[in-house]
C-alpha cells in the first residue's frame, strides 16, 4: 500500500474576518519531493504555509500533516517539522551558536545533543566561523542560512520555507539554493513558497500556481510550461506605442502586449523573429529565450509575478 502523503489538504480555507486568504485549495505532498507554492504577494501562500506549520488553524476544509490533525496533534506534528519563516525571528541578543542550541532545546534535545547538532549545522550552512558572533552583523543571506540551519535542528521530516530567498542578492540566492538542493538529495521533503519563477524551476519537483487564494494550475515546472506556454518566447521592444500587437497577429502561437514589451510565444523563436522582420517591423530589441513559469503565470492570470 502506498504511504499516505505527508501533507494532504482538501477544500482548505483560511479567512481573516471578511477577507478570504485561502479559498478552498486541494494539495498533496509526497515524501521526498520538493513542492512549491508559486504566486504573487497576497496569493495566500504564506497563510497556507502557516496552516501547514500548525500555527494557524484552518477556517474550513480538511488538513492532515504526517497523517495527523494539526489542531488536535499540533505539538506532535510541530516536533517533526522544520519551519523557516518569512519574517526572521532569530534572537538578536544570542550568539549564532546559541540561537541553534536554544531552539534545539525547544524540541527536547539534550544539551550535549543540541551542541553537537548546532556544530554540524553551522558547518552545513557554512557559518561555522561565525558561531560565537552576534546575529546582527550577519548579512541577509547569512541570516537566512542560519534560519535554515535552525529549521533543521530537530532533523525534521518536512522543511517549510516561506519565501526563502526574498530580498537576497543573486550570489546569496545561489548559495542557498545549492544548500537546499543538498537537503533534497538527502531525501528531506521540502515545501516552499516563492514569487520567483526561477526559484520554483530550480528547486521544485512539483508546484501549484496560486492566485487570489486559489490554485490555478498544478504540475512539474516542465509540464506547466508545456501545457500553458510554448517552448520559446520572443521579447520585442518597439519605439513609441501604436498598435504593434495587431501587426504581429499570426506570428507564433500567441501574442501578449505588456506595457513595456511585446511577447511572442512560438515553437521556434528564430522563425518568429524572421517573420517579424518579413512584415517590415523593426523592433528596437529582440530577445529569444526559453519559456519560463513567469510566462505560465502571465498566461493564467494576465499579470506578471513581481510587480
Amino acid at each position: 500500500m502506498a504511504e499516505e502523503p505527508l501533507v494532504v489538504a482538501r477544500g482548505l480555507v483560511k479567512r481573516f474576518g471578511g477577507f478570504t486568504a485561502v479559498d478552498g485549495i486541494d494539495v498533496s505532498v509526497e515524501r521526498g519531493e520538493a513542492f512549491g507554492f508559486l504566486g504573487p504577494n497576497g496569493a495566500g501562500k504564506s497563510s497556507t504555509m502557516r496552516m501547514i506549520s500548525c500555527v494557524s488553524p484552518p477556517t474550513a476544509g480538511e488538513l492532515r500533516i504526517l497523517g495527523m490533525d494539526p489542531v488536535r496533534d499540533g505539538v506532535a506534528i510541530r516536533g517533526r517539522l522544520g519551519v523557516c519563516p518569512q519574517l526572521g525571528n532569530l534572537d538578536a541578543d544570542l550568539s549564532v551558536f546559541e540561537n541553534l542550541t536554544t531552539y534545539a532545546r525547544y524540541f527536547g534535545l539534550s544539551r550535549a545533543e543540541a551542541r553537537r547538532r548546532a556544530g554540524e549545522l553551522l558547518e552545513f550552512v557554512q557559518l561555522a566561523d561565525r558561531a560565537g558572533g552576534k546575529v546582527e552583523p550577519l548579512s541577509g543571506g547569512m541570516k537566512q542560512r542560519l534560519l535554515i540551519a535552525r529549521a533543521l535542528v530537530n532533523d525534521p521530516e518536512i522543511v517549510l520555507l516561506d519565501e526563502p530567498t526574498t530580498g537576497l542578492d543573486p550570489q546569496a540566492r545561489h548559495l542557498l539554493w545549492e544548500r537546499l538542493y543538498q537537503l533534497k538529495r538527502q531525501g528531506v521533503t521540502l515545501v516552499l513558497t516563492t514569487h520567483y519563477m526561477d526559484e520554483a524551476e530550480q528547486l521544485c519537483d512539483r508546484l501549484v500556481v496560486m492566485d487570489g487564494g486559489r490554485i490555478v494550475a498544478e504540475g512539474s515546472p516542465r509540464e506547466l510550461i508545456g501545457r500553458y506556454s510554448t517552448p520559446e518566447v520572443v521579447e520585442l521592444r518597439f519605439a513609441g506605442g501604436g498598435d504593434v500587437a495587431g501587426k504581429l497577429d499570426g506570428v507564433g502561437e500567441r501574442v501578449d502586449a505588456l506595457p513595456d514589451r511585446v511577447l511572442v510565444y512560438a515553437r521556434d523563436g528564430d522563425a518568429a523573429v524572421a517573420e517579424v522582420h518579413r512584415r517590415g517591423l523593426s523592433p528596437l530589441s529582440v530577445l529569444v529565450r526559453r519559456s519560463t513559469l513567469e510566462d505560465v503565470f502571465l498566461h493564467l492570470t494576465g499579470r506578471t509575478l513581481v510587480d
Binding site: V75, A76, R78, T102, Y103, Y106, F107, G108
Partner: protein
C-alpha cells in the same frame, strides 16, 4: 510538557547572562542604597516605630518592592519585544513549546532571579542589624510569590498591546502608586480608608506585610493564609489572563 518549560527558562537565562552585571546593579546595589539613604537618613529623623528602628521597618518593604519592580520590568518591554521585535514567541510557536510553557518558563526565570537576589540582600541587611527574627529565611519565598502574582497579569497586559506608550501609563498609574502606597515606606493605616482598600487589592502590599511579619517576628495584619490567598488569586487570574493573551496574539 515540563522539558519545554525548562527550555524556555534556559533561553531567558542565556539572554540574561549578558545583562547580569547591569541588572545586578539595579536589583541589588540600588536597594542597598535605598536602605542606607532612607533607612538610616530618614530613619534618623523618624526615630523608632513601636520599638523597631525605621531601617528595620523598611527592610522588608524594600525587599518586596524590588522583587515587584523586577517583575514589572521583565514583563513589559521584554514581553512586547518578543511579540513585536525579536518575535521570540513566534519562533517558539513553531516548535512543540506550548503557550503554557512560554508563560511558565518566563515566570520561572524571574523566580530563579529573585531567590538569590533576596538571599544576598538579606545577608547584607543582617550586617546593618536590619533583621529581628529567624523567620526572615522565608522572605525569599514570599518575594517569589510577589513576582509570580505581579508578573502574570502584566504579561497578559503586554500581550494585548501593540504600542509601548501604554507602558508609560502602567508605570505612572500602577507601578509607582503601588510602590508608594503599599506599606513599603509607611503603614497603610496612615491612608484614608478608600486608599487602604486599594492597597489591600495590591499584590505588593500582601508581600510587604508577610515579609515584614517575618523579618520583625510579629504577626501580619491579616492571617497569613488570607495574605497568601490574595497572592494566589492574583497568580491564578493573572495566569489565565496571560495565557489567553498569548494564545490570541499567536493564533493568526
Amino acid at each position: 510538557m515540563a522539558h519545554s518549560t525548562v527550555a524556555v527558562l534556559e533561553r531567558h537565562l542565556t539572554l540574561y547572562r549578558r545583562l547580569f552585571w547591569a541588572s545586578a546593579m539595579s536589583s541589588f546595589v540600588l536597594p542597598v542604597l535605598f536602605l542606607v539613604s532612607i533607612g538610616l537618613g530618614v530613619g534618623g529623623y523618624v526615630g523608632d516605630l513601636g520599638g523597631v528602628s525605621y531601617l528595620q521597618w523598611i527592610v522588608p518593604g524594600v525587599m518586596a518592592s524590588t522583587a515587584f519592580q523586577m517583575a514589572i520590568g521583565e514583563t513589559t518591554y521584554p514581553v512586547l519585544g518578543d511579540f513585536k521585535w525579536s518575535r521570540g514567541y513566534h519562533a517558539m510557536r513553531a516548535t512543540p513549546v506550548r503557550v503554557g510553557d512560554m508563560v511558565a518558563g518566563q515566570v520561572l526565570f524571574m523566580v530563579v532571579r529573585v531567590l538569590p537576589q533576596t538571599v544576598v540582600f538579606l545577608l547584607v541587611v543582617v550586617v546593618f542589624g536590619g533583621l529581628r527574627s529567624w523567620w526572615s529565611v522565608v522572605t525569599p519565598l514570599v518575594c517569589a510569590a510577589v513576582v509570580v502574582a505581579s508578573a502574570l497579569p502584566v504579561m497578559g497586559f503586554s500581550a494585548r498591546i501593540d504600542n509601548d506608550g501604554y507602558f508609560a501609563l502602567l508605570f505612572r498609574f500602577v507601578m509607582i502608586p503601588m510602590t508608594l502606597f503599599s506599606g513599603v515606606f509607611f503603614p497603610v493605616a496612615q491612608l484614608p480608608v478608600v486608599a487602604q482598600w486599594l492597597a489591600w487589592a495590591s499584590p505588593l502590599w500582601h508581600g510587604v506585610e508577610v515579609c515584614r511579619a517575618a523579618t520583625l517576628g510579629v504577626a501580619p495584619p491579616w492571617p497569613v493564609w488570607a495574605h497568601v490567598l490574595c497572592l494566589v488569586a492574583w497568580a491564578v487570574a493573572g495566569g489565565w489572563f496571560a495565557m489567553r493573551g498569548f494564545a490570541r496574539r499567536l493564533a493568526v
